[in-house]
């Protein structure tokens, strides 16, 4: 690398560093302390700084090029337009700026959206953590210490150094443990409480047991004898009656064990019957029946065999609410409203369907929807159905035409409360078998791209914009804004190259003519130059945005792309000639 090349790299690197530092300092002042947790401060500042730095990179770059060629670099006199020396002189800057342009394209297309997403994730995490903390405190006030402890623990995954919350977690865990210890004797003294309820002392219970055994009522005798022993374990008479009652029941043909086995058999038979019914509600009941059996008879091989089948069956017709609770920590998108299926402008389509989702969680285990509303209406505006559901899960299933489609399953099962959340029909109705599902009739691989916040296209990554351009018409959105944004993204790297070349030309034309360098002015210019240039660059991009919008709306996207390419080629040619002319004039 020659002296000029070294000077170029040094000046560019210094200006880039100053710009990055300035963006970091700006981010420090702009840090939203009321929204983002202090523990995430460094990350937010860093990624916001990176995103802003890439945004102001054209300004920083043009400032650097102008400073470089008006203060530091020179091409020497006597380079003519037709001379080979001109090509040699141009080669170095052209290679350098082409490489920077390519890096800039990567930065704009990938790094900037990534940095913006990381920055935004700190906001999401902070909001989620605050929600968890608030929920934990509510649980704690309600005395639900175990659930409070879970939420505190989740909060500490985000804000691990928060000693105050850690103390609250320890306290909630201690309270939950204490309650468990208190609850333990209760479970052991079920008979004791029953005994107290039945009679004031063990003697009366023994008397009743004795009377029952006298009447050959072995079950009653067994019951009162057991209760008497619960009150007074030393009652030998009760122990004797208990043994006699057991003996009597066996002699009668049925022991307690046999009765229990018969009961188990009946419960299993009922559960099998529910499972084979294939109806949604029956399958949910079957799951609960097998879950209870599994808890009561953990060693039963039949139950072990059928429980997974019941689980699979319930997941086929519904999903568990706790899946959403577990997914809460994952990123979410808000406010998704979209047309489900083609619009009324399609000749064969008189019916239209719209879906709104308040919040969609993008978890590793699936995508979950909260606050769902759907409406379907005919050409005359008559509502066919209108439903609301609290929860939903997006699933891939076999559709009626034999292919695979995406469905929104809106039947959620709360395993703890044993309740089922189903869609509520405000008007109209649908077939009962499909009333809890909604087929999403358009590609849903990136449904989150329809979120209202994502409508601000300027922060979307190029791959996301390409996806939006593909899916927007299917969901009822105008695609022209996406095409314009895409055009602007592709324009950015070209513009950087054009700025570089015009920067060389202007820098040489407006070279400093101080005998020595002008350090004070240089420092002053370093601060004033970017502010003025930034205004001009913003104006330049706005002019192109207007031109592109006009072309996209009037000629369509292909015509607009061709026109944009032609304009950029003309500008590039003009910039090259300017540089060549300026060099030959020096």
């Amino acid at each position: 690398m020659d002296r000029q090349g070294r000077a170029a790299v040094i000046v560019l690197a210094i200006v880039y560093l100053v710009a990055f530092g300035a963006m970091l300092i700006y981010s420090m002042f702009m840090f939203p302390g009321r929204i983002v947790l202090p523990v995430l401060r460094t990350g937010w500042i860093l990624w916001n700084g990176v995103a802003l730095f890439i945004e102001v990179l054209p300004t920083a770059h043009l400032s650097a090029v102008l400073l470089l060629y008006s203060l530091f670099a020179g091409f020497g006199p006597g380079v003519r337009l037709a001379d080979r020396a001109l090509v040699r002189a141009l080669k170095g800057p052209l290679v350098l700026f082409t490489v920077i342009t390519m890096l800039f394209a990567v930065a704009v297309g990938i790094i900037q959206p990534y940095a913006a997403a990381r920055r935004d994730s700190y906001v999401y995490q902070s909001e989620f953590a605050r929600a968890l903390l608030s929920q934990a405190q509510q649980f704690e006030r309600a005395g639900e210490y175990e659930r409070a402890a879970v939420d505190y623990a989740l909060y500490l995954n985000i804000d691990a150094e928060n000693t105050e919350v850690r103390a609250q977690l320890d306290e909630a865990r201690a309270m939950a443990d204490a309650r468990e210890i208190e609850a333990q004797p209760d479970r052991d003294t079920v008979f004791l409480r029953a005994a107290r309820r039945e009679a004031p002392d063990a003697t009366q219970l023994v008397n009743r047991a004795a009377a029952a055994i006298g009447e050959q009522d072995f079950f009653t005798a067994h019951y009162y004898a057991r209760l008497a022993l619960a009150l007074d374990s030393g009652r030998e008479e009760a122990r004797r009656i208990l043994a006699n009652a057991n003996e009597g029941m066996r002699a009668f043909g049925q022991t307690l064990q046999e009765a229990a086995q018969q009961e188990r058999y009946e419960r299993k038979r009922h559960a099998y019957w529910l499972l084979s019914d294939e109806q949604g509600q029956s399958l949910i009941q079957a799951y609960y029946a097998f879950a209870d059996l599994r808890a009561d008879y953990p060693d039963d091989r039949d139950i072990e065999l059928y429980y997974p089948l019941a689980l699979e069956a319930i997941q086929r017709v519904s999903f568990f609410l706790h899946e959403i609770e577990r997914a809460e920590a994952f990123p979410a998108r808000h406010n998704l409203t979209f047309r489900n299926g083609p619009g009324a402008e399609e000749p064969a389509n008189a019916v239209q369907e719209f879906v709104h989702i308040d919040r969609m969680i993008l978890a590793s285990g699936g995508r979950y929807a909260l606050g769902i509303e759907a409406v379907q209406y005919g050409a005359d505006g008559e509502i066919i159905y209108h439903l609301r559901a609290d929860y939903g899960k997006i699933e891939q299933r076999d559709s009626q035409d034999g292919g695979t489609s995406s469905f929104l399953n809106m039947r959620a099962v709360d395993r703890q409360q044993r309740t089922v959340s189903e869609p509520h029909y405000l008007s109209g109705a649908r077939d009962e078998s499909v009333a809890h599902v909604l087929e999403i009739r358009s590609p849903v691989s990136r449904l989150e791209l329809l979120a209202a916040a994502d409508n601000g296209l300027s922060s979307a990554a190029v791959p996301d914009l390409l996806q939006k351009a593909r899916i927007y018409p299917d969901f009822g959105f105008a695609v022209e804004p996406v095409h314009v944004e895409l055009g602007m993204r592709f324009l950015l790297p070209f513009s950087l190259l054009i700025f570089s070349l015009f920067g060389i030309a202007l820098g040489i034309r407006w070279r400093s003519h101080y005998l020595g360098r002008a350090p004070l002015l240089g420092v002053l210019a370093l601060f004033t130059l970017p502010f003025v240039l930034h205004q001009l660059i913003v104006l330049y991009f706005y002019v192109f945005r207007v031109l592109l919008a006009f072309l996209v709306l009037s000629l369509g996207s292909v015509g607009a792309a061709a026109a944009l390419l032609a304009v950029q080629a003309l500008l590039l040619a003009w910039a090259l000639f300017s540089v060549a002319a300026r060099m030959s004039a020096t």
């Binding site: 239209q352 050409a379 959105f477 400093s512 003519h513 002019v543």
Partner: protein, 333 residues
């Protein structure tokens, strides 16, 4: 004299080119903002009237920018700068007077057949965090099968209308208010608050809208002044032109032309920002009370203020080393 004519010609050419460019961009921006798929007229029918509408701010901006470019041009020419600067002053003042007059021109017969307004397209979902709107069919201002979604009270705070989806077989579009009006229940949705329409594409960034706003805030009071007192208007415009032409001081302030150029652009932007203050009646009244100018007519106070700044720059220009000296230093000769 030769230099003066060259600069004058250069100014006129630059002024014409810049006015065409700025008004063209402004016209295209307005055309895109008010783009209406359902319009009966051919798409380009309203472009020319919209460009004509864009000429008004374009004349002011074009005159100022062309003057700056002419000053840079003058740096490269030989001859006598005072003559060229005088020519430039006259031309700039004349251009600004035309611009100020144009601000108030009704442009009769060149207005679009239909007043341009944001219009909803059928089959396109428009939305904001609080509202979503979908028009099934549109025939002029009559809308059919309109779907409206409103956020719940918890999401949107206090507002009218029911939350969630509602389907309206009929609704009407009001181009004057740029709004959709529903009869049952009676409510209105303003289009400018919704995202997804063509108007969002050309939304100017704050820097651009700020600059256009400053131009408007300068041009409108100037036009008002000229209408109320023609002579005061002429004097004010002449004084303003003097300040701009005397930016010559900044254009040759140092031996580093790049720095001078940046300073000059920054100076003119600052001038555009401060000019509305110099034309503000309240400011002028306060200034009139502060200065010993009790009997001085208020309508001439702006001209006096601007002329004072212009004359100050003129004095600095006289005191500064001569232009030939500067040129020798910069060109090394």
């Amino acid at each position: 004299m030769k230099t003066g004519l060259a600069v004058a010609l250069y100014y006129l050419g630059a002024f014409l080119a810049l006015v065409l460019l700025i008004s063209g961009v402004h016209g295209m921006a307005l055309w895109s903002r008010f783009y209406d798929q359902a319009a009966a007229a051919p798409p380009f029918a309203d472009l020319l009237p919209l460009i004509m509408r864009g000429i008004r701010p374009a004349l002011v901006l074009g005159a100022v920018a062309a003057a700056l470019l002419s000053l840079f041009r003058l740096l490269r020419l030989g001859g006598s700068p005072p003559v060229a600067l005088s020519f430039l002053w006259v031309l700039l003042a004349a251009s600004l007077l035309v611009a100020v007059a144009a601000v108030e021109l009704p442009l009769q017969g060149r207005e679009p057949a239909v007043q341009p307004a944001r219009a909803p397209a059928a089959g396109v979902l428009l939305r904001s965090p609080q509202v979503a709107l979908y028009v099934g069919r549109r025939e002029g201002t009559q809308l059919r099968d309109v779907l409206l979604w409103r956020a719940s009270a918890a999401q949107a705070g206090n507002r009218n209308g029911a939350a969630g989806f509602s389907v309206h077989p009929r609704a009407s579009y009001d181009p004057v208010k740029e709004a959709i009006q529903f009869s049952t229940p009676a409510e209105t949705v303003t289009l400018s608050k919704l995202q997804g329409g063509p108007w969002n594409i050309v939304e100017p960034p704050p820097l651009v809208s700020g600059m256009l706003n400053d131009v408007r805030r300068t041009a409108v009071p100037l036009a008002g002044l000229a209408r109320a007192d023609r002579l005061a208007g002429v004097f004010t415009v002449a004084a303003l032109a003097l300040i701009i032409v005397m930016s010559w001081v900044i254009v040759r302030l140092t031996r580093w032309p790049l720095f001078n150029a940046i300073l000059a652009i920054g100076w003119l932007r600052l001038l555009l920002y401060l000019l509305p203050l110099a034309l503000d009646q309240t400011m002028l009244q306060a200034l009139g009370r502060l200065l010993p100018l009790a009997d001085f007519p208020l309508s001439y106070l702006s001209a006096l203020l601007l002329a004072a700044v212009g004359l100050l720059l003129l004095v600095i220009n006289v005191v500064m080393p001569s232009f030939s000296h500067w040129k020798r230093e910069v060109n090394g000769g």
